[in-house]
Symmetry: C2
Subunit: 233 residues, 2 copies
């Protein structure tokens, strides 16, 4: 299987690590064969979606998908929620399937809470404006609540000025944003940006709280299963 | 650049993570473009070297190197010390350079101690028997000390029954083996198996002790520099 990665590089590294750690394996040869393209120079996704940049990352990721298909990947994953704005363009470029991180994450959120009506979404402003989660959730009758303007600026600071810059994340601020989504009715809160998955993994936020669903964790589990391997108990 | 990986999968994931974390970067686009082949099904290296298996991993890794070269990698690294027994075969298969983890690690050990005469080596029994470190160190006038039979069995338990099996490592046993190499004159102790690098990273053993040199950490730093990027201070 192939990983259309580099968006961002830290999230791609975490994704590979998650797949390895979550695979039921007793020796090297029990693991998945993977090819991971950590293509760091892909133009910024949010900047293009918001019109702050004219460099379109879509054709670059479509070409990366084709290169991975030629390398022999039998299915592809794209461990980035914002990049899923470009999913149709990437999927059209290849004959092998592209597992959709957003659809899989919404499906997992619905498994966590019996009658899911309201989903909280932490994501980049690009993902929010492109309505990536709103459309996937709306298609199955679920409403989304997103942070207000002040909280969204906080989320972007954590993603861009902290995680992508290789600096420690402000976990207290992160928890505050999550709490305020819950006050507004979110039954489940999705970490819909793989940089936030890095924060969750570094601070072990997921194990204790089943109403926090991490998109990167979900994608890792679905990748293992789709490759015909078993997820570690 | 390309990573001939999967030997083992956890070490490959750590290597990618190390390169990302150690790169001086303020945004995604400051990182290295990398293609990582996590080829888990490569036959066991130590089993072949010791004659316990007739499945030769050498031609498989040589083919992987060719595939990565065709993909566009301008240089290759192999984040596995035992696999370096097969370096000549792999290097001969491609036109691009293959950075040698063992030579780079010995060079780093010599930078750590002014007049290095005795180097302790923790590695798989395959790496030890193939004299991978003994030859690289001998070429620059440095002697190696390796664990005795009982301690070597302990090292192999940590590598195979703990790290490769996804279980917690016995850090106290690990420290005991290191201490006994020092008692026998080792001025610097090399972690010459990337599974031991996983133990060192998980338990933060390197920062406090400059006479412990981790081969995976060394390879990550040389990879960043060779790709024309800067190592984070």
């Amino acid at each position: 299987m192939g990983v259309v990665g580099g968006v961002g590089p830290q999230a791609t590294a975490y994704f590979l690590d998650m797949v390895v750690r979550l695979t039921h394996a007793e020796r090297d040869q029990d693991h998945l064969d993977m090819v991971v393209l950590n293509h760091a120079r892909i133009p910024d996704r949010t900047a293009f979606i918001l019109g702050a940049s004219t460099e379109n990352p879509g054709p670059v990721m479509a070409q990366d998908a084709r290169r991975l298909e030629r390398f022999g990947a039998d299915f592809l994953v794209l461990p980035c929620n914002t990049a899923h704005h470009f999913t149709d363009e990437i999927a059209a470029a290849v004959d092998v399937p592209l597992v959709n991180i957003v659809e899989e994450t919404v499906a997992e959120a619905r498994r966590r809470v019996g009658d899911l009506r309201t989903l909280g979404v932490l994501a980049t402003t690009g993902t929010a404006r492109a309505e990536v989660y709103q459309r996937a959730a709306g298609a199955v009758g679920v409403d989304c609540v997103l942070p207000d303007e002040v909280d969204q600026a906080e989320v972007m600071r954590i993603i861009y000025e902290q995680v992508k810059a290789g600096l420690p994340a402000d976990v207290a601020a992160f928890r505050g944003v999550v709490d305020r989504l819950r006050e507004r009715g979110a039954q489940v809160v999705v970490l819909g940006c793989t940089e936030l998955s890095v924060v969750a993994a570094d601070h072990d936020l997921l194990a204790a709280d089943r109403t926090l669903v991490d998109s990167l964790d979900v994608l890792a589990r679905r990748t293992i299963e789709r490759a015909g391997h078993r997820v570690r108990d």
